[in-house]
Subunit: 200 residues, 2 copies
């Protein structure tokens, strides 16, 4: 199994975290998005969407979209609820993460880290959207330990990835006490790896 991956990407980190949790070995293939390595003819032939992470199975089959990769790798594990409605709620949070959370918080982080000269005018609107996202998460977590049901699931992995680096996007997490407690619970999972780690 090969993982085409950019280390500072939260979307890539989700997959590396899960591979570590599941104890699966893989070959890590670094892709530098700043050098447009996701837009070479070779890469676009593997993923026409030009995005990492990208998983390549031993037989050459390819799977893109971080949250879809999570659902594939985690099948049969304790990270997917047995109950059909809880599974659907997990999917709800995962789609919400890609639709509302990532486009606000991950993009604000990207701009602050790499594109302040060209894109800083986008930040005010992104900060407003990100604050709304964090408020929804904090309210939800005020009454429960994990996003769905009573134990960790793929929804927690998907949402942890960019939330735990929201400070790099300019958000002050100290005002979100329920999020902070949830981050600590997540980090206490014994296989936890940090962003930038490459477990092999």
């Amino acid at each position: 199994m090969k993982l085409y991956d950019y280390l500072p990407s939260g979307n890539s980190y989700k997959v590396r975290w899960l591979l570590s949790y599941l104890g699966l070995s893989y070959t890590h293939i670094p892709i530098d998005i700043h050098k447009r390595e996701t837009h070479t003819p070779e890469f676009l032939n593997k993923n026409p969407a030009g995005q990492i992470p990208l998983l390549e199975l031993e037989d050459g089959r390819l799977l893109a979209e971080s949250n879809a990769i999570l659902t594939f790798l985690a099948e049969g594990s304790d990270l997917i609820p047995d109950d059909a409605f809880e599974r659907a709620k997990m999917m709800q949070w995962m789609f919400w993460e890609q639709y509302r959370h990532e486009p606000a918080i991950a993009v604000a982080r990207f701009i602050r880290n790499y594109a302040m000269d060209s894109r800083s005018d986008e930040l005010p609107a992104l900060m407003t959207k990100g604050e709304a996202v964090l408020n929804i998460m904090d309210d939800h977590l005020s009454e429960r330990d994990w996003f769905v049901g009573t134990s960790r699931s793929l929804a927690d992995i998907a949402l942890y990835a960019y939330t735990h680096v929201a400070d790099e996007a300019g958000f002050d997490l100290s005002q979100f006490s329920s999020i902070k407690a949830w981050l600590a619970r997540f980090e206490a999972i014994n296989v936890h790896i940090c962003m930038g780690d490459i477990p092999l």
Copy 2:
């Protein structure tokens, strides 16, 4: 079962199409997004994200995010592939739809229909993104009848919703012959309903 729904919304239409396909009865509750009915205290209490569609089960449990609702309602049907990798590819296309397709094509359509005075400056970038999205779909469909495997799946429903009204967003579908053939195949499914139809 109740569906909180805005008829011109492609995201809502996905759910109505599937309910029709599965022959499930439900109560249709119209929500006018232009009157901010998704942001009343009552609605936000049901869905803090302030979005339709929203499904309410008989026992009061609530499920948001159109593609998550599809996965819930379709479980056990012929719209979800039996093969684990094909299921993951279906998820890949559904996440891609929400991450890349909807934010380009649905937003351009919304602006052209309702917000030309205030948001027309967003259109050039959205048209570029939308053209890229349609090219990826057209290339993919040039070699197959459906997005995943050899038969229709939830990925086709998710992608059909806003693609078939891409003309309202300003895109010319006549140049995408494989997309046009796929739209025709989808519309030949015998339970097909049109956007705006409310089957009960």
